[in-house]
Structures are given as C-alpha cells and as structure tokens.
Amino acid sequence: MVDLQGYDFSSHLHLFHIKGYDMLLDVNSGSIHVLDEQARSFIQELIKADGNWSVAHKEFAAHYDREMGNEVQRELEQAYHEGSMFSLPEDLLSFNYGHAVPKSICLNIAHICNMRCRYCFAEQGSFGQAREIMSQDVARRAVDFLITASGERNNLELDFFGGEPLLNFDVVKETVAYGRERAAVAGKRFNFTLTTNALNLDEEKRNYLIDEGIAIIMSLDGRPEVNDRMRIHPEGAGTYHDIVSRIREMVAMQPVSYFVRGTFTAENLDFSRDFLHLCELGFENISLEPVTGGEPGIALEEEHLFQIMAEYEELAEIIWAREQDNKPVNFFHFNLELNRGPCLPKRITGCGAGIEYLAVTPGGDIYPCHQFIGQSEFKMGNVAEQGLDQSIKDRFAWNTVPHKGCLQCWARFYCGGGCHAAAFFANGDLSKPYQMACAMHKKRLEAAFYLAAKRIGG
C-alpha cells in the first residue's frame, strides 16, 4: 500500500470539475487524469483522511460498493508506480537561471503611435517618456549588444514593439538586415516578430514581412463596437474598418506565424462574443488578453471574475464546437504544450525578464521588460555600454516560483510565478503575484485541460 500519510495533497494535487468532467492534475509530474464518479469520490475521501487508506475506504463504502473502492485504490497505486499520481516535488531551490544570458529583446523602435487606445499601458506609445523613434545607430547597437551578451545561446529573438513600430519602418528593415548579417557571422539565428496595430500595414509592408519570414501580431479587439470603444484614432473615431481589411489581407498571405490579439476590459466581459467574431472573420490564431490597469470602468475588478470564468468556459465550448466542425482555432492562452513543454528550470524561472528578456527604448536604455520602461528604479543600462545593473538582475533572478510563495499553488509550473510587472504595479512588490491574474490563469489552465480531455476521449 502506498504510504500517503503526511502527503501535502493541497499543494501536489488539483482536483476540479469542469463541464461534466472530474479531472485531476498531479502537479509535480504534470500528469492529467479524467476520473469517474467513484474515483473522484474516493480521492476526496483520501484527501479528507489525510492519506489514510482505511479511513478513506470506510467513508467511501458508505456510498459505494467496497470492491469498487479496492478497484480505485489499485488504479491509484498503479498510477503512482508509473509516476503519474501522488508524485513528490523536486528540490526547486536547486534550479536557477544558471548560465542564463540575454537572448531576447523587445525593441521599442518607436515611442510614438497613430492610435489613442484608452487602455494603453504604454501611455499612447511614449511610456511616459519623450515621443521619439529609434535611430539606426541605436538599433544596431541593440543587435550588437544582444549578440555579444547572448554568449553561447544560438536562438535569439527580437520583437519590434512600440508605440507603433511601422511608424519607423525603415529602421525595422535595416535592423532585420543587420541582425541577419551579424547573426550569420556569429553562428546564431534571429527570430523576428513585429507587434502592430495594423493601421499602416499596407501592401508594401505586408510583402516585406512575408518575404522576410517575420512573425506578426496584429491588434484587434473583436466586434466593431467593442474595438471602436477602445482602439481609436487621435481625433476619436474608431479604427475597426481601417484595420480589419488589412489584417485579413495579411493573414491571407500566410505569414510564417501570426496572432490576432485583442484585449478585453470591464466593458466587454462577454468577450467570448469577440472571440467568435474574430473566428468568423477567418482568423485561426487568436489571443485575448485581460486589460492591465486602465481607467475606472475599464479595469478588471474582482467582482468581474465570476463572469470572466464563465466566459473562459464558453470559449472552450466554442473551440471544441469548431474542432468538431473541422474549423479549428488556436487560442493562445489555451494552447498548452502538454507533452513537449519546457523543463522545470524554465517553468520556475518564468518569463526571464531582467535576465534573458530585456526591453530597449528608442534612446537605447535597457529595462527588464517592456512594461517596466519609464520606471527609473528598473533602468538596467544602455546598449551603448556592455553590462547590466547587477542588483536589478539579482532581484529578477531571485524572483522565481520557490521565492514567491507559489509553492502551494497547483498552477506553479504553468505560469512561472506570474508576470513580474503585474505584481509590481498591483502590489508594489515584484514577489507578490497579482491575484486577479492568478485566478484567470488558473481558469484558463482548467479550460485547456478540459479541451485536452475532450480531444482524447471526447
């Protein structure tokens, strides 16, 4: 009999019910199980009995046949011996960033924007700084900085971000050419992405992005009225009809990778309708992110969580229905890599901000990520110099799952401890996760597990 006395069930198992399915995540192994009523009931009794099999059997027998309890126990023990049940945690404190070096840059190539989105965390592109665009010289220095700083890492990433990067398109092109040239000499490879509001995504730029194999993320919030309440021209008019045709034309050209990315706010808590609208426009790779911050009326509050949870379940249903109809759609936040996912060290070190991932302003200043730009206490250096502020690096290197009070959370290996910036801006503390984001993340995970169950046993 497997000895479970003292096993920390609440930290190492996640038992949940979603849309008719009883499911169990064995947190430390990453195994996911679908349970029938008897298995769910027996496990509940086992948890209540703190791992005492005899007590669990006795309580179980009050409702079910005793032999059924024996069957469930045999299956649980077999799963245990396969390593997929009641697994124990590894020594997570022994994992760290090790030899991690910068390998990924968010290049804020333009701190100007041709939209005035009401929820913009970048303060209409400027991040509270001067409205300027990046020079060729600074962009080249950023590439040089990354190639040198990345040491033995081969796969480098550069995302053109802003503001609106297409407002500095010549420097985008020059940077791609320069980056490829320098990477070839250094024996490395650049993956380029570009995040745009699509207003200036004309034929010339679309052709360029296709020819260069640049992955593209295009912003569109969903239904016309929803998009046009938030994503507006400087004079106040909505942008939907200006951008939707450009995005569709871009997608029709089959970019190497694309996402249509929307933001939902307190004003469109029925965001599954926006997801459906984006599906109906023919988009197959969609992301809908909860707004971060925002003015009163836009910001997401705890009172909205109930509806947000229901919407995520509705999204899962829409996705499943489309798959049954041979119209699959890839929703970024349900897109879990369940079998070839990242290693544990990656999972507990999260996004890599301040260590592997850095953001660079038009003036060349370096910050831990795009969301920290303009926060002077987080300025780490400048691309004109090699080297980064060690004390800031240390703060981020320390800020991993085991140090953030996340060791009791069942979602700890899927969120990396959550967004550093969200923790900082919500709680004034890098190591205090933003609980609203945690709640939403957990629901997305449950929905993703549910979809996995449907796909396998549906």
Binding site: I32, H33, E67, R261, F332, N339, G341, K346, G416, G457
Partner: protein, 78 residues
C-alpha cells in the same frame, strides 16, 4: 461522465476476487493499465534531468503575450 468513461471489460460472477482476477487478466492481455475509473490523458512530462535548463526556448513575452506570463505553452527546443 458516461460519455468518456473507458470501455469496461465484461466480467461475470459476483465473487469480488474472481472479478478482480478477470479484470487483471483482461488488462494484462490488452497491454494497458487497469483503468476503469482513472483515465490518464497526459503522462508525466515535467523534466529536470541533466539535459534541461539549456535556455534555448522562446521567451514567453516574444509572442502574442505581452501582459501576462505563460510558460506552459512554450515548446522545449531539445
């Protein structure tokens, strides 16, 4: 649950011991774990052996995600 319960072998008789043996023989023959009640849809997959922590995989914010941290959808590059 009925819609996704695993196919259960048909076993006759009311003797629990005999029933268990028949179930065991069935699953041994099928080459699968006994799984009347528990269906494993994802096997153990969290790796931490010596080949891990190579840091070659994508940074999570270099994609459609710019405001929340998601590492569970990254693909191991090894």
């Amino acid at each position: 649950m009925a819609e996704h319960r695993l196919p259960k072998p048909r076993v006759e008789g009311s003797n629990p011991f005999s029933r268990s043996i028949k179930l065991l023989l069935y699953y041994l023959k099928e080459g699968d774990r006994m799984s009347n009640h528990i269906k494993t849809i994802v096997k153990p997959n969290l790796k931490s052996d010596k080949d891990t922590n190579c840091r070659e995989c994508q940074a999570s914010c270099q994609s459609a995600c710019k405001t929340s941290c998601t590492v569970g959808n990254q693909v191991c590059n090894k």
